[in-house]
């Protein structure tokens, strides 16, 4: 399969009076077209910083990120969509208008962007909430609007920074299944940052396990569970072994905690 994202020796250093701070060090991996990749690691390992660099929102101090062979130095809105931890919907716009926004910014004609946005809201199961304002939606619904908004410009890659981090566990599990379904219908390449190991294993083809001080990749773990995934796989032996392995990778780092 074709490589869509190549991360080559990426490092991020911040200047500090008492010597430079190495936030990210020598990070390399690649992502294939249509893959679902999760990045896990202890708090403060720089996984959000890495995502910002991958999406072009932040520049690396060392190394480079290539998408489709082209260097990423600033956001690539048509190709990469970013979904944040908070839904960040515009509170003065309806769900539909929020999903239309990225298309509007790109100058897509009204008729066309409306049709596309309705499709996306349908995909995330929110056809009934099209005309509602963000304050009338629950946390999970808001995040679904945010995902629909990300998908609206039909990007090849969706990068998500702990998108379910502020949701309760039940909603979170449901959203994970929802995300799998969306991924299976749209065949996007997805990069998901999460601090939940189970979530990462359950959803992904590959899990990049990060350590901290400095933030780096400890290991790339392939998840060979069959697709489509089902919730009862979480109780399987393979799942447990994978979970233990990642847990130990992170736990071997003295003094770090996994949340």
């Amino acid at each position: 399969m074709a490589r869509v994202i190549e991360v080559i020796k990426v490092g991020k250093t911040y200047p500090h009076p008492s010597g430079p701070v190495y936030a990210l060090d020598n990070i390399s991996f690649s992502v294939e077209d249509g893959q679902f990749v999760s990045i896990v690691g202890p708090s403060g390992c720089g996984k959000s910083t890495l995502l910002q660099i991958l999406s072009g929102l932040l520049n690396a101090t060392d190394g480079e990120v290539k998408v489709d062979g082209r260097l990423v130095t600033s956001p690539v809105p048509g190709t990469i969509a970013v979904v944040f931890q908070e839904a960040l919907l515009l509170p003065w716009k309806t769900a539909l208008a929020n999903v239309e926004l990225p298309l509007e910014l790109r100058g897509v004609a009204t008729e066309q962007r409306r049709r596309r946005s309705l499709e996306m809201l349908d995909l995330v199961g929110l056809t009934h909430a099209v005309g509602r304002y963000p304050h009338e939606l629950s946390g999970g619904m808001r995040q679904r609007v945010s995902i629909a908004r990300g998908l609206a410009p039909d990007p090849r890659i969706v990068m998500m920074d702990e998108p379910f981090g502020s949701l309760d566990e039940q909603t979170r599990t449901r959203m994970g299944d929802e995300l799998l379904r969306i991924w299976e219908t749209t065949r996007k390449t997805i990069i998901l940052i999460t601090h939940s190991l189970s979530e990462a294993i359950y959803l992904s083809d590959v899990v990049e396990v990060m350590g901290r001080d400095p933030g780096r990749i400890l290991e790339e773990v392939r998840i060979d569970l069959p697709r489509p995934r089902r919730l009862d796989m979480m109780g399987s032996e393979v799942f447990g072994q994978l979970r233990n392995r990642i847990w130990h990778l992170i736990g071997d780092q003295a003094g770090t905690t996994v949340d």
Binding site: P75, P77, I80, V82, F84, L105
Partner: protein, 253 residues
């Protein structure tokens, strides 16, 4: 209460007011009767109509100046962390001082004509508007700027689609206070020293103990505030609606 009941109540109050005056229970110098006010209006209406137009014009000029200057200066100061921290305390402490103490100085500088009224009205409205704009620009949610960048918004789109709608509710609240201050400022300035306008007429007829005309002047000043308030309320409804909906949803959750 139904519409008719309200009208009836108002008429009843007017009748009681007229009766108290007609029976001579209160001296006409202290409280003018409704009939006196109507008489004042019918005899001196060209004078009062002229003053109403004149004062309205000054207020309009003052509002335009206060809004423009307040928003521009507030946005400029608010966009720099350093400037904002240096100037916000000064702005709020000036807001706490009654500006009218400076009016005599302004009079010496630009005279007692229209200019001093407009400048004074403008200054009165400027501080709350500048302070609100500064706060709005300082405190909107910066994560939306990251979102806008990720979506590929250009600078114009960033302002028009994200920053302006986000800061508008706070700015409009400032406009509301500032506009009221401008109106008060101009009428007070007219009462202090001038040769024309509603404030001048109120002050002039008061020295003549002509309470009917004073009341007429007051009613017209109230009419101006009433109209301006209508405008501001509709502005707030259109520009700041999302904020109040958002807040009420958050508190009820």
């Amino acid at each position: 209460m139904s519409r008719y009941a309200k009208i009836l109540l108002a008429l009843a109050l007017l009748a009681i007011w007229q009766a108290v005056c007609s029976l001579g229970l209160i001296s006409p110098v202290i409280v003018a009767s409704p009939i006196n006010i109507v008489r004042a209006a019918t005899s001196e209406w060209p004078e009062f109509l002229g003053a109403l137009g004149y004062t309205s014009l000054l207020i309009l000029a003052g509002i335009v100046g206060a809004w423009g200057l307040g928003i521009v200066v507030g946005a400029a100061l608010g966009s720099s962390e350093l400037l904002a921290r240096a100037t916000a305390p000064i702005l709020s402490s000036i807001l706490a001082v009654p500006l009218v103490v400076w009016y005599p100085i302004l009079m010496v500088w630009v005279g007692i004509g229209a200019e001093s009224k407009i400048i004074y009205g403008m200054l009165s409205g400027f501080f709350p508007i500048a302070l609100a704009t500064l706060n709005a620009v300082q405190h909107y949610d910066r994560r939306y700027v990251t979102l806008a960048r990720a979506m590929g918004a250009n600078t114009v789109q960033l302002f028009v689609r994200f920053i302006i709608p986000m800061t508008l509710p706070t700015i409009v609240a400032g406009l509301r206070v500032g506009t009221a201050f401008t109106v008060i400022g101009i009428i007070v300035a007219e009462m202090l020293a001038s040769t024309a306008g509603l404030g001048f007429l109120i002050s002039y007829y008061r020295t003549m103990f002509d309470t009917g005309h004073v009341y007429l002047g007051i009613s017209l000043a109230l009419a101006i505030t009433f109209v301006i308030n209508l405008g501001l309320t509709s502005l707030e409804k259109h520009m700041g609606r999302w904020r109040s909906l958002e807040l009420s949803a958050r508190t009820s959750r």
